[in-house]
């Protein structure tokens, strides 16, 4: 697949149809793959990568790239296209300046998942699609790819691209019977004290590095409310400020109805806080209360918080359903 | 018992707010036992509201109410006069030795067709 992608990218660069290519390249470690911009065939040959470790969602980069001179080629995995489509819907990306090539994905390997199995001193990781080989300071070990995948890939919601100019490889389908809400349900089934304890354990680790905000395709505001003096939420530097206290819930609310559940927030969190469980709660509630809705799937559908029906449930439904007492 | 206490007792047993009455008299207009009563349903409401309970306690009217609920059904203010009458009656028979009907009275009141329902009802209404 990688060579096919490089070949197409070179062709499009050579014909002048695109001015640059957005893809993946190796970072500090070979398992630490980061987004990259390529403008020449040479750069592509030397650095372009596409393998089971290319986790990053490239759609958000297109907000800036699509405003540059000339067209930009971007490779998007199925789940990335939902984010891309959502950004198109919000007029954040100039579609005419982007050439989208959809690439297949059968789940990505995640270094945090591998670390969680107990391996330390990881030097490099490779995957052949079935088995993942991990080289560590203390020797090599192998594991099945399924064991090395992050939760978001195990519970993949779709292998279908919702937007593209051309496709490489085989197109997949929406995964209808994924189990992505299992953990949300588990939390809902807890008592309020258990829930509070759960979130206290998770959120108290936050160091406000803003990685979640920076990576999130839905957090693409020109100026974040937390950086805006007039928003009332701006309170730099004070550790017990409103901003610090309420950051995650406000962020989750701001992306509610717009979040495609790409899971990047949790992936990049250096403290491994499962932030996606906040977003998924909103998604689950929206599905249950207002009908199934997948952000990014349909370009014409109104976002659930920007529409209503006269028969909507009352907020008091929370007292009746909500979580366990 | 003080006058006011009696009034409170009746209101508490009945759960009725007598102040809702607008004195239309529909309860008495609809009462099937009107002619047999010394004090009529609207008077029960008015007298309880004004605390004039004593005459009601000693009147035979409390045993004439059929508890047919016509007054309750038709009252435009939802006052429920029948509940007040019941409360006054209970205030009487709950006192010691104040049962309206004694066991000994019973045999001569019975006939062979009389349904049990009438006997148990009367016991519930007349005795404690």
């Amino acid at each position: 697949m990688q060579s096919e992608m490089i070949k197409r990218a070179k062709e499009l660069l050579a014909s002048g149809e695109v001015a640059r290519v957005v893809g993946w390249k190796a970072g500090e470690f070979d398992y630490d793959i980061t987004p990259g911009v390529f403008t020449t065939a040479e750069e592509l040959d030397s650095a372009f990568l596409y393998n089971d470790l290319c986790e990053a969602n490239l759609s958000k980069y297109m907000i800036a790239q699509s405003r540059k001179e000339g067209k930009t080629l971007v490779f998007l995995k199925p789940c990335d296209t939902y984010s891309f489509s959502q950004l198109l819907k919000e007029h954040r990306i100039l579609r005419e300046n982007v050439y989208v090539i959809g690439v297949p994905c059968d789940g990505k390997v995640d270094v945090d998942t591998v670390k969680a199995t107990g391996l330390t001193g990881i030097c490099s990781m490779t995957s052949d699609g079935e088995t993942v080989t991990v080289k560590t300071l203390y020797g090599d070990s192998t594991m099945s790819k399924a064991d090395a995948m992050s939760e978001r890939c195990i519970n993949c919601k779709s292998k279908k691209h919702v937007v593209y100019d051309e496709l490489l490889g085989e197109e997949g389908d929406v995964v209808a019977d994924n189990h992505r809400f299992d953990m949300v349900e588990k939390i809902e089934a807890m008592t309020p004290d258990e829930r509070f304890e759960f979130w206290r354990n998770e959120l108290s680790r936050c160091i406000r590095c803003n990685a979640c905000r920076n990576v999130c395709p839905a957090c693409s505001c020109e100026k974040c409310v937390f950086d805006n003096e007039q928003s009332g939420a701006f309170n730099k530097g004070a550790s017990d400020s409103f901003e610090e206290n309420m950051f995650h819930i406000i962020r989750a609310f701001h992306v509610a109805g717009r979040c495609t559940d790409c899971g990047e927030c949790s992936r990049v969190c250096p403290q491994n806080i499962p932030l996606h469980l906040l977003n998924r709660k909103f998604i689950k509630d929206i599905n249950e209360l207002y009908g199934e809705y997948q952000a990014g799937e349909n370009a014409d559908e109104r976002a659930p918080l920007n529409t209503f029906t006269t028969e909507d449930v009352e907020p008091s439904i929370v007292y009746e359903r909500g979580g366990k007492q | 018992m003080q006058k006011q206490d009696k009034q409170e007792l009746i209101l508490r047993i009945s759960g009725v707010n007598a102040r809702k009455c607008m004195r239309c008299g529909k309860c008495s207009a609809t009462c099937p036992a009107y002619d047999e009563m010394e004090y009529h349903p609207h008077q029960f409401v008015y007298m309880v509201e004004s605390g004039n309970i004593e005459p009601l306690l000693s009147s035979d009217s409390i045993y004439k109410c059929l508890t047919c609920f016509a007054c309750v059904e038709r009252c435009p203010r939802d006052v429920q006069p029948a509940k007040l009458i019941e409360a006054v009656r209970l205030a009487v028979i709950r006192e010691q030795d104040k049962n309206h009907m004694k066991k000994g009275d019973l045999p001569e009141l019975l006939d062979e067709d009389l349904p049990q329902q009438a006997i148990v009802s009367a016991f519930r209404k007349y005795t404690k």
Partner: protein
């Protein structure tokens, strides 16, 4: 930092009795920005206003906080005072320490503490207030009156008289409303038709008035001065312009068994009909529910006999769109359904009737040509029982909690007229209270008793028992003699409560005009603005606002007209300056705000921006049309970036209030 003056009002004892006003003024002195703080007996009085004005000048105030009654009461007053002293009127904030403090709390300590906190919140808000300037919007010089009864007719005539165009929308085939069904009017006993029909004709002939009969309002958009209304003209299957009202079709139509609503269903009309002789417009209408031609395509008699070719079986409902500067609601009333009052046997006996049915039985154009005859057997009734308050003052859930107001007087009228025309009739009126507070009203009622010998009995009817001989046994109480009465009556007349027309509820939703729990429209102020809805540009005429008799309805109708004329006389209206505003630098161009705006006030355009790095970028950004925005703020929450804010109720202002309250 603002220089803020705080003015604490005693409102006589209304506030001062429960709130230590001096302590409030003292406590607020220490708030940031407050340079002056005082209390006064009546802030709204001229002296009180002068105190504010002089303090503004003396201390160079830039912001004012008045701790007083509800802003809904005197915000305008204090804004004007501030303006006349040279500061922007929107630099004034009110802390509501009367309705929301002194009047609802008894304990002085806690009421005072709360008043201080409310004052602090207002001070915190004023700190962030900015001067606002109101824009202007043009006024469409045309009014719409919804409902063509006496209320609507009077309002329309008065507006037209002042030279403005006015349209009447009436859902029935003719204007005239309930008054057309009434025989005589109390207390003067004028013939209702004689005083109403000339007004109906005036409407038809007035060049400024356009009547949409057999029509309904389908949609309302816009705001004061600028409403766009869709009117649905229901198909009447008769060309209004061609029909001469000759009535030949209504005589030839073979369908004869349609209950005649004009006579309360007590006789029949044809499938094609003109409601009554003086109808305006005098045009036939085909009742599609009964017409054979429309139901199964077999008949066509009316078309054959119509000499002007007015019949059009293919006619469809049409929608007309018009623009108006003001809308008057005059949707009127109906008697309630008596299903829940069958102890009076209304559904079991034809001789138990409502007062409006009685009205038709005594009217020369009614089913008995004005002779009072029993509906069941056409015999003259010798004993008539009138029952008052049927469904009025009823808190049991079956009826209406309010007094219907008109029943006492029309019952006295019915009783009196019956005794006058048929002296051999015994007439009983059962009443709970007789309410006659009007000019010559009580005299009228007393005449019924003293001169006409009507038996007024204080008490209520409990049960009406129809019998096989046609009599009605009326069981009732006579509270004054402490007796239960049993009267053998021939006719029982029920004074059914009146309720707002059922169409009013959906209309209120379209107009966004508020209603009370009984579906009467609420007025902007119960005493001082009784003919205006709180929604600007919507006015109230007649019973749609509350029970009224004819003289009151006509007065209110003219009052509503005066208000409309006052509005239409202006060329421009001052807009509400508290509107949304997009900060272009922060706007993402995502369109969320546009989607939730109920007025279509937000548009997007591509604009060129100079970026911090000296390059330029073209970005899609929102802008708000200030003349269209009504200031609800839906967009401000939909906006993820906080670029959209509401002037006068900005994010930071509300946050400051929250902080002050929670401190």
């Amino acid at each position: 930092m603002q220089k803020i003056g705080v003015f604490v009002c005693h409102c006589g004892t209304n506030i001062a009795a429960t709130v230590d006003v001096k302590a409030v003024a003292e406590a607020l002195k220490g708030e940031p920005g407050v340079v002056f703080s005082t209390d006064y007996q009546y802030m709204c009085s001229e002296a009180g206003q002068n105190l504010i004005k002089n303090s503004i000048k003396e201390y160079g105030l830039t912001g004012v906080v008045v701790c007083s009654c509800s802003p809904r009461m005197h915000e305008q007053t204090f804004r004007k005072a501030a303006q006349s002293a040279g500061i922007n009127p929107y630099m004034v904030e009110i802390a509501n320490i009367r309705e929301q403090c002194s009047w609802i709390h008894k304990d002085i300590w806690s009421a005072t503490e709360k008043a201080i906190i409310l004052g602090k919140a207002a001070v915190a808000k004023v700190q962030l207030n900015a001067p606002l300037t109101a824009g202007e919007s043009p006024v469409v010089k045309r009014a719409l009156v919804i409902g063509g009864g006496i209320a609507g007719i009077q309002t329309a005539l008065d507006i037209a008289e002042a030279g403005f165009e006015v349209d009447i929308v009436e859902k029935q085939p003719t204007i005239g409303g309930k008054m057309t069904q009434i025989d005589k009017t109390f207390p003067t006993l004028d013939c209702a038709a004689c005083i109403l029909t000339p007004k109906m004709v005036d409407c038809a002939q007035n060049e400024k008035i356009k009547i949409y009969s057999y029509s309904e309002v389908a949609d309302v958009k816009g705001f004061v001065g600028n409403f766009t209304v869709k009117i649905k003209k229901k198909a009447r299957y008769v060309d209004e312009d061609k029909c001469t009202g000759c009535g030949i079709c209504t005589e030839k139509c073979p369908v004869k068994n349609v209950p005649n609503e004009f006579n309360m269903g007590m006789d029949n009309r044809r499938a094609i009909y003109i409601p009554f002789a003086q109808a305006v417009p005098k045009v036939a209408t085909i009742d599609a529910n009964y017409c054979n031609m429309l139901k199964n395509g077999k008949c066509g008699v009316c078309s054959k006999f119509c000499t002007v070719g007015a019949i059009d079986y293919k006619q469809q409902d049409t929608i007309v769109e018009e623009k108006y500067g003001a809308i008057v609601v005059a949707t009127g009333f109906n008697p309630i359904k008596l299903d829940d009052f069958d102890e009076f046997a209304y559904s079991q006996s034809k001789d138990v009737i409502t007062s409006l049915e009685f009205e038709r039985l005594t009217n020369a154009a009614g089913p008995t040509s004005g002779t009072l005859l029993r509906p069941s057997d056409g015999k003259h009734p010798h004993t008539i029982v009138f029952v008052q308050c049927v469904g009025s003052r009823d808190t049991s859930g079956c009826g209406k909690t309010y007094c219907s107001k008109i029943c006492c007087m029309y019952t006295a009228k019915h009783a009196m007229l019956t005794r006058e025309k048929y002296p051999d009739t015994d007439v009983y009126v059962f009443y709970i209270d007789v309410r006659t507070p009007g000019k010559n009203f009580d005299e009228f009622y007393r005449r019924a008793v003293e001169e006409y010998g009507v038996h007024y009995i204080k008490g209520m009817v409990g049960k009406v028992v129809p019998r096989s001989d046609g009599t009605l046994m009326v069981q009732a109480s006579d509270l004054l003699s402490n007796e239960q009465l049993h009267i053998n009556a021939d006719l029982v007349v029920l004074a059914a409560a009146i309720e707002p027309d059922k169409s009013a509820r959906s209309l209120a939703t379209m107009l966004t005009a508020s209603m009370d729990t009984n579906d009467f429209f609420t007025e902007a102020h119960p005493k001082l603005r009784p003919v205006e809805s709180p929604t600007a540009g919507i006015f109230l005429s007649g019973v749609c606002q509350g029970p009224k008799d004819i003289p009151e309805t006509v007065s209110q109708a003219s009052a509503a007209a005066a208000k409309v004329i006052g509005l239409l006389a202006k060329d421009k209206l001052t807009c509400n300056p508290c509107v949304a505003q997009a900060n272009e630098l922060m706007c993402n161009g995502c369109s969320s705000c546009e989607k939730v705006c109920p007025y279509g006030a937000i548009t997007y355009s591509d604009k060129e921006f100079r970026m911090p790095d000296r390059t330029t970028a073209i970005r899609r950004v929102a802008s708000v049309n200030e003349a269209v925005c009504q200031g609800c703020g839906a967009c401000t929450v939909a906006c993820p970036s906080g670029a959209m804010d509401l002037k006068g109720f900005s994010n930071s202002q509300i946050m400051a209030e929250v902080d002050a309250i929670c401190k």
